[in-house]
Symmetry: C2
DNA sequence: CGCAGTTTTGAGACTGATCAATGCCTGTGG
DNA sequence: CCACAGGCATTGATCAGTCTCAAAACTGCG
């Protein structure tokens, strides 16, 4: 496990915001020079973490905000006896850690699902952002509303969909998000989570999740040999999921 | 069903922000004169709606943001076949409708649970707020983060808690929220939702919800003769819920 | 008084949980 | 190059929590 402290990355040179690999991506809105310069001063460093590393724990007073440059993370909550609910997955360009900068304490934990590179922002500067870059403040709210949107969807899934609908809708969502980032090869994507982790996101047991995946496979909708996921029938999958195939809006990121 | 259009309330005089009944409440942070004046210009009217009225529907392009002055609402999503998941309840001081002002379209519906009075803000002015009142922009983000916090909790509840834990934790949360608003009489509060609505928030059937409430009652933890809820054993209820009794932070509102 | 919506109760069915193995792949060290 | 360990995936059998269906009792209201 490597957890490089913010501000000092070991071998790798830090990426300048100007040259941020995410900038060119069509999924994200364009930035002005001025905004870029500010974001650069806002950024305090990078965090490189191996898969499995805990970025922060519930109850922590994390002093940072993070944008994912590469890799996946997941947010989760635990009950005392160890039951775990994964709240959402974070992909490149996604933002997390807002709560601590608002309330001073996180209500959930975050773990690196794959090796990740995170862009780190100190929370003391958040206020500065609102004061001098209202458009970026607006973007922050936008991103918070987007997270809420995804949570609403997850809550519907976990609360009201059957097992097969749940698996179908989460795989579908994840596929669409990867596709939006331009990281899909046709209907083929890399989905790095284990069945156990998927189960924890769905509110199901891992055994039943496995059996449900098999069913989707035997119905010729998907083919998943972790981490390679092939969506063989997108419309069919959406039908089983009881979901619509809306396209995702272009979005900001910090 | 009465749905008074924003900007024209029939008999009632509109409430000036300066005299907003919520202002004095300890649950909320104090505002400066300048902020109050702006919020007053931001406000475009009031919406008075009877219990059961739909404020807006999923897919709508709602042009407004709302703060609840009095009464309860709930946010929900539907599946095609009518299964309903209630995402969260809104109480006085709570804010909703942010998504439409960010993405132009709501992903969920909102219904008045009781008769409500809502304070209406036009979404065109949201940008103005960020530009000229950064502290209010910050507050908006704060409120979005708070909603996220509540959704995280709900997702954990629905995904990983058992029926009895679910009922206990939602009743507990609702009690604490009412208490924070100073609307509790000791351990007694008015909880206006039906068992069916509670069930839809919990991801349970209404029959099983009823049986579970009975169990909590027979264990002498609560006493609920709708709408009168009496929490007979707060600590015991928290224990059953597998939840902690943290106090809620003072919060902003618009 | 009667209606409509809500709560309550019982019985049986079923989805998904739990338990317990087994198989499989990958990386590691001998 | 093989043996082994550890993590994951897979499978079968049994169990139980929750759902569905159906009907009755209750409550507030016109």
């Amino acid at each position: 496990m490597t957890l490089t402290p913010p501000g000092r990355s070991p071998n790798t040179e830090q990426i300048k915001c100007k040259h941020c690999p995410l900038r060119g991506n069509e999924a994200f809105r364009a930035f002005t020079e001025k905004e870029l310069d500010f974001v650069q001063t806002f950024k305090s460093g990078e965090l490189v973490a191996d898969a499995g590393t805990t970025i922060f724990l519930e109850g922590n007073n994390s002093a940072h905000l993070y944008t994912i440059l590469s890799g996946w993370v997941f947010r989760y909550k635990l009950l005392d006896d160890g039951r775990r609910q994964i709240l959402n997955f974070g992909l490149p360009g996604d933002f997390f850690g807002l709560q601590s900068s608002m309330f001073g304490e996180m209500d959930h934990s975050v773990e690196a699902l794959t090796d990740v590179v995170l862009c780190v922002f100190p929370r003391e500067k958040v206020w500065h952002l609102y004061e001098h870059y209202p458009d970026l403040g607006f973007d922050l709210t936008w991103l918070a509303a987007r997270e809420q949107f995804m949570l609403d969807e997850n809550l519907l899934t976990v609360g009201r969909r059957t097992a097969i609908e749940r698996v179908a809708s989460v795989l579908l969502n994840v596929f669409l998000r990867i596709q939006q980032l331009g990281m899909a090869r046709g209907r083929r994507v890399d989905v790095p989570f284990t069945q156990q982790q998927l189960a924890d996101a769905l509110g199901l047991s891992h055994v039943h999740t496995n059996k449900t995946i098999k069913k989707l496979t035997s119905e010729n909708l998907i083919d998943w040999h972790p981490p390679k996921l092939h969506i063989k029938d997108l419309e069919g999958l959406a039908r089983v999921a009881n979901a619509e195939l809306a396209s995702l809006p272009v979005r900001p990121f910090i």
